[in-house]
């Protein structure tokens, strides 16, 4: 066989094996955290399945309660549209976690409450918000 053909065959073979490997890993993930369904709060409430899911929403105002004995435990209500879901989380909370923050949680829904083991915040809306909410005033309010 020509050396050139040998090289071509080896490289093509290697590439095919690699492609199959990528396909195999995505079809048979070793870890349950590798591939997680992203669904809405509505769907979590209406399907009684015990598989790991990821959901997003807003922390309902005034719903955050920290455990008195252990500052790492937090319970809050996740709001998405008109649906509400109680969430429990244990661990370090992101810097921007607060009332009204946009969050993503991942975990299991069991016995009416969502047990999250991953909690991520998106950026605080204040920094992308309307200037009218901040320290600005309308022209007609000024006495000239």
């Amino acid at each position: 066989m020509l050396p050139k053909n040998k090289v071509v065959i080896t490289v093509t073979g290697l590439a095919l094996v690699a492609l199959f490997w990528i396909y195999w890993v995505s079809a048979n993930p070793m870890d349950e955290k590798a591939m997680v369904k992203f669904i809405s709060v509505q769907e979590v409430l209406h399907t009684e399945n015990h598989e790991r899911v990821r959901i997003g929403g807003i922390v309902a105002d005034g719903s955050i309660t920290l455990s008195s004995t252990n500052k790492l435990e937090v319970a809050f209500t996740l709001k998405e549209g008109d649906s509400f879901l109680p969430v429990e989380f244990i661990g370090t909370r992101p810097d921007l976690f607060k009332n009204g923050a946009e969050v993503i949680v991942e975990g299991l829904y069991q016995e009416g409450s969502f047990h999250a083991d991953i909690l991520q915040t998106k950026c605080a809306s204040r920094y992308e918000g309307d200037l009218r909410d901040a320290s600005s005033y309308y022209l007609d309010e000024i006495e000239i």
């Binding site: 080896t10 990528i22 591939m35 992308e128 901040a134």
Partner: protein, 423 residues
């Protein structure tokens, strides 16, 4: 007054950019050197105007002119001066302006370095750079203008301030260094396209773009590492590396860029693998634009995405255009590019480089697959499936081990001399 100067500079830059492309095309058609000189001057003007616009925005940020919407949104009176300056790349329109600012500096360096060289390639090189500049100029002129005035109905007494997560000293280093790396791949890309179009066979230009890619690669690598360091400091950014879409966006061009850095040596020394190298650098460039799309569009939910905007489709269209044009170009010039030299043995250094390339490109594909999987699964099956770090870790381990093996075996293989002393 001054914000208008910035705005006018940006519009003028777009105008001069179009003029320059027309003049350079006239030169390519008629071979009248005066067209080239005029076109090149226009290209210089475009870059200078962009730099002026950027300096104007910096001045507005430092002096807290809240009449400019961007300044009011990303800084406040209390923001420390260093972060007022870094707010230049904190928001969408500012970071797009910062992108063309760096490209303009690169463009000036390229024009200056090659003022007496490559007279056949340079018009094409400039045309490619100008096209990329024009794309970003259209964005900053018409879609997200950084000099947009604040709503005239009310007076802004104080701005909203910079997001506290961004008030970290790494903010002053990480984005500029990363951008230097991201934007830098435009120049080797432009040279490669020019070389394909003019059927340039020499190795001199290959040498200069290899050097250029090395510097760019260094900046991109440092940028990625600084990003990891910063993410570790912020709670909620997932530690050093979390395989977040935005992190992957910077990692994918790094992988193909690293592959390119290796195989370009073969082209420089033996004039082989020309098609493959062209594909690699085109891929790298397309991935940098795709990366900007990932960061800016909000298509992938990411903890790092700071703005969700309407820019997604425009960026995606630009990526599609780049890929289509590159594919057409490759098929068009394919007959001219076939090298009559072949790799002589399976255990030569040349084939070692080839295996290295396969490994890097595979890794890039694995990361790409994991990054876009949520979108694909939503389109195909209707449920969005998010991909977490375990997938990326598992899929990359064997590929990484193979790479580690090649790192050990590669230098021992006989074949082409490596450029050890010369950069």
């Amino acid at each position: 007054m001054t914000p208008v100067l910035g705005s006018v500079s940006l519009s003028l830059a777009a105008g001069f950019g179009i003029l320059s492309i027309i003049l350079l095309s006239l030169y390519i058609r008629s071979d009248d050197y005066r067209f080239f000189l005029a076109g090149r001057r226009m290209a210089i003007i475009v870059s200078v105007l962009v730099i002026i616009a950027t300096l104007v925005l910096v001045k507005e940020l430092i002096t807290s002119n809240f009449d400019v919407d961007y300044v009011a949104h990303y800084t406040s009176i209390e923001t420390p001066t260093v972060y007022k300056f870094t707010a230049l790349w904190a928001g969408q329109s500012g970071s797009l302006l910062f992108w063309i600012f760096i490209l303009s500096i690169y463009s000036l360096i390229t024009i200056f370095q090659n003022r007496n060289r490559y007279h056949r390639m340079m018009p094409w090189v400039l045309c490619v750079i100008l096209t990329v500049q024009l794309f970003f100029l259209i964005l900053t002129n018409f879609i997200t203008n950084p000099f947009e005035p604040t709503n005239a109905d009310f007076i802004v007494a104080n701005g909203l301030g910079l997001n506290p997560l961004l008030q970290n000293l790494t903010m002053a280093i990480h984005p500029p260094v990363l951008y230097l790396g991201f934007v830098g791949f435009t120049i080797p890309f432009a040279f490669t396209v020019a070389a394909l179009l003019t059927n340039e066979k020499g190795s001199l230009w290959v040498r200069s773009i290899r050097r250029w890619s090395l510097v760019t690669w260094l900046a991109l690598s440092s940028g990625i590492m600084l990003g990891g360091w910063w993410a570790y400091q912020e709670l909620g950014w997932g530690g050093y590396w979390a395989w977040d879409p935005v992190e992957n966006a910077s990692f994918m061009p790094w992988l193909t860029g690293t592959a390119f850095l290796h195989s370009i040596i073969i082209q420089e020394k033996k004039n082989m693998l020309r098609i493959w190298n062209a594909i690699l650098i085109m891929l790298t460039f397309a991935l940098t634009i795709f990366g900007t799309f990932l960061t800016r569009s909000g298509v992938m939910s990411s903890v790092h995405s700071f703005t969700e905007s309407s820019l997604g489709p425009i960026f995606l269209a630009f990526v599609a255009i780049i890929v289509t044009v590159c594919a057409v170009l490759i098929f068009h010039v394919l007959p001219n590019l076939k090298s009559n030299k072949h790799i002589e043995s399976l255990t030569s250094r040349e084939s070692g480089f080839l295996f290295n390339n396969v490994v890097f490109v595979t890794m890039c594909f694995a990361v790409f697959w994991g990054t876009i999987f949520p979108v694909i699964s939503e389109a195909v099956r209707g449920t969005k499936i998010t991909v977490g770090p375990p997938f990326f870790n598992q899929v990359n381990v064997p590929i990484g081990l193979l790479l580690l093996m090649l790192t050990g075996v590669g230098p021992l293989l006989p074949g082409v001399e490596l450029p050890e002393v010369t950069l």
